[in-house]
Each structure stands twice: as C-alpha cells, then as structure tokens.
C-alpha cells in the first residue's frame, strides 16, 4: 500500500454540514482524497457516512461547507455554488445496485456512454471492455432483472467504470451479498481499483471490508470524524474508545495512570477494580487518560490461576463460551472486569473453569477518550 505522490487532491471536503430541519446529520467534517487513493468512510448506521457520500455525488444538498472535485468547486455554501449531480461527472455504485430492470445488461452498462452522445462503435467497444472487466461478457444480452444478486452487483460495477471515470463512489456495495460472495467481491474490487487507477470513496459499516480494501480509513460517529488513518494506524493506534471498539472488537477497561508518567513509551495503569497493568502510551494520549483498550484477539488464556510471565495478567473465571467456527469467544469475569477473549477453536476451555488471561503491554493501548 504505497502513498500516492503529492498532487492537488481529487476530492476536498471542508467543514461539511448537512442538516434536515432540526436534525444535523453531518456536523462539520473535512477530509481529502488524493489522486488514485481509496478512502473508506466507516461507521455505524446513522453516523452520516452515506449522507456525506451522497452530497459528494450531488444527490444531497449540504447546508454548509464546500466540496471541491479535481480543483473545481461543485458545492460551496459561501459562494452559493451547487453543481447538479448530472454535471459532476462522478460515478456511483448504489447499495441497492439500482439496475434498470427494463434494459439488458449491455444497455445498463452503455447508458452513460449513450447519454454522453458517444458514437455507436465506441459505445460497443467500451461497454464490452467494461463487461469483460466484471466478467459478464456472456450475459450482455440478458435482461438485467433476470440476474442473481452477485451478477447485478457486477452490472452496477461495470456501469460505474464503463466511461473511465476519475472518481467512483461506493455506497455499501457489498452489504446485500452473502458472506462468501462478499469476500470474493472484496478481492475483485481491490484488484479492479488497482488496475483502473481511479480515486474512490467507499462507504461501509463493515470494519473488515474497510481495513482490507482502503489506503486510508475515516472512522465516523454521530456526524463527526473520530479518526483518519491508514488501516494499520486505525487498528493499532485507535485514538478513542469508540474507534478501538468499532474497528475490531476491543475490551475497554477504565482506571487511572499511576506513577511518574511515561517511561520508554509505557505507563503504569491502575484499573478501577484494583489490578495494575502496563500500557502503551501512544503519544497522543494525555496524562489524564482513563481508559485502556485490549484487542479481544490478542489475549492469551491459560488454564488455572497463578500463571505469570512478562505480560499483563488477570485472573478470573470463564462465564460463557460462544462457538463461532473460526474462533471461540469467551466471556471471562476477571476480578470485577468483564473481559472478552477470542481464541482459535483448537484451545478449548470449559465454562466455569478458573483461568489466567495474559496480554502483552504492547497490545494494551492507552486511549485519550
């Protein structure tokens, strides 16, 4: 994942505010999408991510701020600019696919080229190229309404890339597919993105998807940006409890910093329930931080009490065991704290058993909020 060379951003959103009547859906957010960059807006339902995407496309009219596409202002509250969607020249893949049921696959994909008045010959070449890219070449003459969900998704994708757009907007394009298909489409999307060299904004509530396919992730919550960073930064250095919990599940434990502050990037942290732990001090965190996060997948379980090594240790009892297939989730009562642990299904601990949980200080992250 290389960072693109510095150039004017493809999309620049600043201080965007979107409200409906008294309800403010987006509360002043700013971000940039560089050329060839794939950015994901990640957040729970109702956090304003889709509204933001739709306002970039021109389907939603913001109440404040500005949006600049490739150097051209397409929306500015200050200068009273609002370029209509049909003249913004972006491409969008809808959550419902928005396949026109009265047309064939070919006509769906060719629609945009026809609207632009491109000669018939060129339309045919470009449409067939796009269909080949999404592996639907054989289905070109079939009615679009007769396709399966995955195929409809491909038609939507083919339609979005047929005219070689500079910007593609994705509105939860994979959320209606089953898990297996989603995983393979994810891979295809990533390869397609790389081949086409487009800039894209991708909206999803699926954190796995966000981490897997983007250069940078923007975590949103309640109309605000919680954190912007590479998938690695978002996962390993969350700035808030919300990010830590939403992006890969985490245990959030509250307490206070004790001792003389940071030493070699680590601090002593006393949990509200008593035990002391060593936690990584990510730098951004202030001296008054009151929460630490421990990823559920990075905790080790040992049968019995009293195990000690150089890691943080807590003792407790397994309260619940949930079999998930790829992993087993344990709910453990640890000295007044509820700790969730995910372990591979090869290690089985029974409910009610006394255990020691161990996690390294490296994976115990001090949070600002």
């Amino acid at each position: 994942m290389s960072t693109p060379a510095p150039a004017p951003p493809m999309i620049a959103v600043s201080d965007l505010v979107i409200s409906y009547g008294g309800y403010v859906a987006v509360k002043g957010i700013s971000f940039e999408v560089r050329r060839g960059e794939h950015i994901t807006l990640l957040g729970p339902s109702g956090c304003g991510k889709t509204t933001t995407l739709r306002s970039i496309a021109g389907l939603e009219r913001p109440t404040g701020g500005s949006i600049i596409l490739d150097g051209t202002p397409v929306f500015s509250a200050e200068h009273r600019i609002n370029v209509p969607a049909e003249r913004r020249g972006v491409s969008m893949v809808f959550q419902s696919y928005a396949i026109w049921p009265h047309m064939t696959v070919f006509e769906n994909v060719a629609y945009r080229l026809r609207v632009r008045g491109i000669p018939q010959k060129e339309i045919e070449t470009k449409t067939h190229q796009a269909l080949q890219l999404v592996q639907l070449h054989d289905a070109a003459d079939r009615p679009a309404s007769k396709l399966s969900g995955g195929q409809q998704q491909r038609v939507a994708l083919g339609r979005a890339i047929a005219f070689s757009p500079a910007v593609v907007l994705f509105d939860e394009p994979l959320s209606n597919l089953d898990a297996k298909l989603r995983a393979s489409m994810r891979l295809e999307l990533k390869e397609l993105q790389q081949r086409l060299g487009v800039s894209s904004v991708y909206v999803t509530h699926d954190q796995e998807e966000a981490l897997a396919i983007s250069h940078r992730v923007i975590v949103m919550n309640d109309g605000r940006i919680e954190q912007i960073g590479t998938p690695d930064e978002i996962y390993n250095q969350p700035v808030s409890g919300f990010v830590a919990d939403f992006v890969g599940s985490a245990n959030l434990l509250s307490g206070t910093i004790v001792g003389s502050g940071a030493q070699n990037g680590f601090v002593m942290f006393q949990l509200a329930t008593g035990p002391r732990l060593t936690a990584r001090y990510a730098g951004a965190a202030s001296g008054t931080a009151t929460t630490i996060a421990v990823r559920t997948a990075l905790i080790d379980i040992r049968r019995g009490l009293g195990h000690r090594d150089d890691r943080n240790a807590l003792e407790g009892r397994v309260r619940r065991r949930l079999f998930h297939g790829d992993f087993i989730e344990y709910l453990i009562d640890c000295q007044g704290n509820r700790v969730i642990v995910r372990r591979p299904p090869t290690e089985i601990v029974t409910e009610g058993e006394a255990v020691t949980v161990l996690f390294s200080a490296e994976h115990t992250i001090l949070l600002d909020r």
């Binding site: 419902s96 609207v115 309404s145």
Partner: protein, 152 residues
C-alpha cells in the same frame, strides 16, 4: 351528491357547457381523479428512487431520465390505472345522469332511462354493448400490459 353539485356549478358558471359532451368530460375527470391519483401514487412509490438517482449521476437531464427510466418503468402501472378508470367511467351513473343532455348521451344513464321507458329489449341490447366494450378493453389492455410486465 357530486352530480348535483356539478349540475349547479355548471348551470351558474357563464360558460355554455351544460348539455354538451364537454361537461361530461369535465365531470368524469373531477369524479375519477382521486381513483387515478391513488392508483398511480402507489405505482410511483414502488419505483426505487435510486434508479432515477443513478441515471442522474450518469449525467442524464430530467427530461432524458423521464424518457429512458421513469416512464418505461411506470408503463405497466399507467396501463393498469387507465383500465381501472375506463371501467369506472363506463359504469358511472350518479354524476352523468344529471349532466346528460339530448345530444350528449352516455350509456349508463341511457340504460336506466330505457329501462323505464322503452322496455327490456333495448335495455338488454345496450347492456350487452356496454359489457362487450368493457370486455374488449380489458382483453386488449391485459395483452399490452402483459408484454411489459413480462420484461420487468
């Protein structure tokens, strides 16, 4: 009720429409409009908004979107609504009985008046014509509609 109201209105409005076919056309339009609006609003609501939005993002102007997306999708619904209104207007009697004139007869009230004056033969013949006309319209429209519905 509606018939009386329309009768009073068009007798008092200083446009000489009473007794012509036009007043009947206006009356049918007025009386059946709610039925048409209700039927079509259901059809319009069923069309996913993103189908039009997608065309908009594709660069299509409002007129082009209407022509290539919205109207083709509405067509089966429009056909069905037309059929419904046609049937309702042919058998409509409450309003047309007040507004019919000697030179502008419509079939439903004509059947009623022939029943009371001319006798059963003429009445039965007219009823047959009415039924046959409706049947023909239904068959024709179901054919046409079926062609579109199959594709959707």
């Amino acid at each position: 009720m509606f018939g009386l109201a329309l009768l009073t209105a068009w007798l008092n409005i200083p446009i000489p429409l009473y007794g012509t076919l036009w007043v009947l056309a206006i009356a049918y339009f007025t009386v059946l409009m709610p039925l048409g609006v209700r039927t079509l609003s259901g059809v319009v609501l069923q069309i996913d908004k993103s189908l039009e939005e997608c065309a908009q993002v594709c660069g299509a102007t409002w007129a082009h979107r209407m022509k290539t997306i919205t109207l083709p999708l509405l067509r089966p619904g429009l056909v069905a609504a037309w059929l419904l209104i046609f049937i309702a207007s042919v058998r409509e009697i409450g309003v047309s009985i007040y507004l019919m004139g000697p030179n502008s007869k419509v079939i439903a009230p004509a059947i009623v008046s022939s029943w009371s004056s001319a006798g059963t033969e003429l009445t039965a013949a007219m009823a047959m014509i009415q039924t046959a006309a409706m049947l023909a319209a239904v068959v024709l429209l179901l054919r046409v509609a079926g062609k579109y519905v199959k594709g959707v």
